[in-house]
């Protein structure tokens, strides 16, 4: 297996996640898809680290995970607030920032 295989897999995962972000309407689903994207990126980092014989990739993955955790926490808190105020989790309903 060479690097390209991993990169392509990573890209596919990323693409799937991105499509999910755009297509799904439930806020939490969107957050889930974001996680998919982040994972894809992590995968490619680790792959590079392995094939370029460096450790920096893995360290970066470390940090990405930390940030992902923080972001998931805050994002979910926002989802709760949204639900509390509007009784809906449809992201399309939060559209008062038009024009």
């Amino acid at each position: 297996m060479d690097l390209n295989h991993y990169l392509i897999l990573s890209a596919l995962l990323f693409a799937v996640g991105a499509v999910g972000v755009i297509v799904r309407r439930n806020v939490i689903s969107i957050l889930l898809c974001i996680e998919v994207m982040l994972n894809a990126v992590n995968l490619s980092f680790v792959a590079f680290s392995r094939y370029l014989d460096q450790v920096h990739g893995q360290i970066f993955v470390f940090f990405v995970m930390v940030v992902a955790a923080a972001e998931a926490a805050v994002g979910l808190a926002l989802a709760i607030v949204l639900f509390r105020n509007r009784r809906t989790l449809n992201v399309d309903d939060a559209d008062i920032m038009k024009w």
Partner: protein, 647 residues
């Protein structure tokens, strides 16, 4: 004395400005004083200048004065340049003299009008423009005057602006003139293109100094003929010849003094003056001269026939003017430029007289202009009758009144310079002129009274301010011819012609066959006889046996209707030119081009912007998902760019 040349046009201009700007607040007498004063002083100045010219020996009677440079552009410079020579001097006297007389007349005629100040302001402005035209020393300045008189004509024809017919007539005059002006301007441009000059002196000098380069163009149409023909097109417009005469009868909508001054004595003669001024060009263009003479003769006859059947007194005089202008062009066209100018002068006298007299009649009858509703006025309007009779005799060419000398000279020149057919047309027209002129006189002043009882009570001879000018003009119509006594009378060559000689010295002399004085006398006698016959016939039909004319009219119903409706020329023009033009303006230019194309383009730009905005506004539709999509799209675009264009 000749230093004051510039005063002559400037005085009426000042008068016009004063009356135009401040006239509303001035009293009628003040307005009259300013206007007539300006005209009168201009006449005195013209007389002074004339005497100054006489004081010079004949060879030196050519003075040019440039006052300022009007246009200076590259190699070309045109100045405000006046030229004083015998020709312009004669015109000066005629314009200012007759103009002054008519100003006096207008005091009485227009006294009841609200726009009194406006009338006199325009009239003075007209004098200014005409004087500029006459004094101009180059084509450009002459054109300025040309346009100026056209403008004043429009303003004055439409003086009664609350009448649609008057406004239409004004527009018609201006537009038809404009058509002629196209030719005029093209002629001027051609002059400039050929000679690089617009000054009369230099252009004519160049022509005369290079006979090899500018020969008499007997073989066809060369540069000079082209110029001459184009200039003549302008003349047909301004001087109401075929085919552009149609505006003149309609111009009778203006007040009678206007008809007298502008459409009889001065403005319409501008074309004749212009041809005479350009004699060095015309005389070297035989084809153009032929055209001028033929058009003149045909117009003379044509207009005379229409005049036979008209009922409006002013219309008869209008067609008469067109006809007499034709005579002047005949004179110019056969090479007798001085004769044309001579007739211009005498015509100014008696035609102005006739118009003013008609005005007097109309004024007395409280506005009636229909000849069939007049009659027997000589008992009530003696002065008017007397002077109009004199004017009528003059126009018929009865010896020894002014018209005889001038008309006779033209007819004789036509014969002597080898145009027998034109002579024949002229002679026939003379007979017709006598007939319709005296038809007018008899219908108006003789016979039974055909007007209403109301009008009868109104009837009064005109005030002194109106009758005095009539008398003055009457005297001039009688003695005015004596300045040009022809050679066959045994008193030496014509002094008028001799005086004008220096003005035409650069023109090629016309080929005149040698004839004896006896032959000339015979021709003159023939003209008088024909005129007398016309008068006699008119007397038979309108005085001796009234009603006979109507019987004949019924018998030749078709011909009569044709003449009465002026050969339906106006209707023809309308059908052929005016309506298609209106239709194409409306349908093509307006609906298709302006609305669809231009508005469409402009609106289309707006619509495009709208459409774009319509598309672009979706970038900010408030949906978080679409924002995310745009972000990803941007990222994808960058990737693509890196992959395919930078990689």
């Amino acid at each position: 004395m000749t230093d004051f040349l510039w005063l002559i046009p400037l005085l009426p201009l000042a008068g016009s400005a004063i009356n135009g700007l401040a006239g509303r607040r001035l009293s009628k007498s003040a307005i009259s004083l300013v206007a007539c004063g300006a005209a009168g002083l201009a006449f005195l100045a013209a007389a002074g200048v004339f005497y100054g010219l006489l004081a010079l020996p004949p060879g030196e009677r050519h003075i040019e004065q440039t006052y300022f440079t009007w246009i200076a552009s590259g190699d070309f410079a045109a100045g405000a340049q006046f030229l004083l020579d015998p020709l312009s001097a004669v015109m000066l006297l005629v314009v200012t003299g007759v103009g002054f007389v008519i100003h006096i007349y207008s005091i009485g005629y227009m006294h009841a009008e609200d726009g009194y100040y406006r009338f006199f302001s325009y009239l003075n402005l007209f004098l200014f423009s005409m004087l500029v035209l006459v004094l101009a020393g180059n084509f450009l300045l002459m054109f300025v005057g040309w346009e100026g008189v056209g403008l004043c004509s429009y303003l004055l024809i439409g003086y009664y602006f609350d009448r649609t017919s008057a406004c239409d007539a004004g527009k018609k005059a201006f537009i038809v003139n404009r058509i002629g002006d196209v030719g005029f301007v093209l002629g001027i441009l051609l002059v400039f293109a050929t000679f690089g000059e617009l000054e009369f002196g230099r252009v004519f000098g160049a022509i005369a100094a290079a006979p090899a380069r500018y020969p008499a163009e007997t073989a066809g149409i060369g540069i000079l003929s082209a110029v001459a023909l184009l200039l003549f097109v302008g003349a047909t417009g301004k001087s109401a010849q075929i085919p552009l005469y149609v505006w003149l009868p309609d111009a009778m909508e203006g007040p009678t003094p206007v008809s007298a001054l502008i459409h009889a004595a001065t403005m319409v003669t501008a074309g004749v003056y212009m041809v005479a001024r350009c004699a060095p060009i015309f005389s070297r263009a035989p084809i153009a001269m032929e055209v001028v003479a033929v058009v003149g003769a045909l117009t003379a006859l044509f207009a005379a026939t229409i005049g036979l059947a008209q009922r409006d007194i002013k219309r008869v005089l209008a067609y008469s003017t067109v006809s007499q202008l034709g005579y002047m062009f005949v004179g110019a066209g056969v090479g007798a430029f001085a004769s044309g100018i001579f007739h211009l002068m005498t015509h100014a006298f008696f035609k102005a007289l006739l118009f003013l007299g008609a005005g007097s009649v109309i004024h007395a009858l409280g506005g009636e202009q229909d000849l069939t509703r007049m009659g027997g006025l000589r008992r009530h309007l003696p002065v008017t009758h007397g002077t109009m009779l004199a004017g009528a005799l003059a126009i018929c060419g009865i010896f020894p009144l002014a018209g005889f000398f001038s008309k006779d000279e033209i007819l004789w020149s036509a014969w002597a310079h080898g145009h027998p057919w034109i002579w024949a047309l002229g002679l026939t027209t003379a007979g017709l002129t006598a007939f319709y002129m005296f038809r007018l006189v008899f219908l108006a002043f003789y016979g039974g009274e055909r007007f209403s009882e109301d009008t009868r009570r109104h009837l009064h001879e005109s005030p002194r301010s109106m009758t005095l000018p009539l008398v003055v003009l009457g005297v001039l119509s009688v003695v005015g011819g004596f300045v040009g006594l022809p050679a066959w009378m045994g008193l030496g060559p014509s002094r008028f012609e001799h005086f004008l000689e220096p003005a035409f010295e650069l023109a090629l002399p016309a080929q005149a066959a040698e004839h004896s004085h006896g032959t000339e006398f015979a021709f003159a006698a023939l003209s008088v006889a024909v005129a007398a016959a016309g008068i006699f016939l008119a007397h038979r039909l309108y005085v001796a046996r009234p009603g006979r004319a109507d019987e004949i009219a019924v018998r030749v119903r078709g011909l009569y209707t044709l003449l009465f409706h002026k050969y339906y020329v106006d209707e023809a023009y309308d059908r052929v030119f005016v309506r298609p033009l209106i239709r194409s303006s409306e349908d093509v230019l307006w609906r298709a081009l302006d609305v669809r194309l231009i508005d469409g383009a402009v609106n289309g730009v707006g619509r495009m912007v709208q459409a774009q905005a319509h598309l672009l506004k979706n970038i900010q539709n408030g949906l978080a998902r679409s924002y995310a999509a745009w972000i990803l799209a941007g990222g994808a675009a960058v990737l693509l760019y890196l992959a395919f264009w930078r990689g």
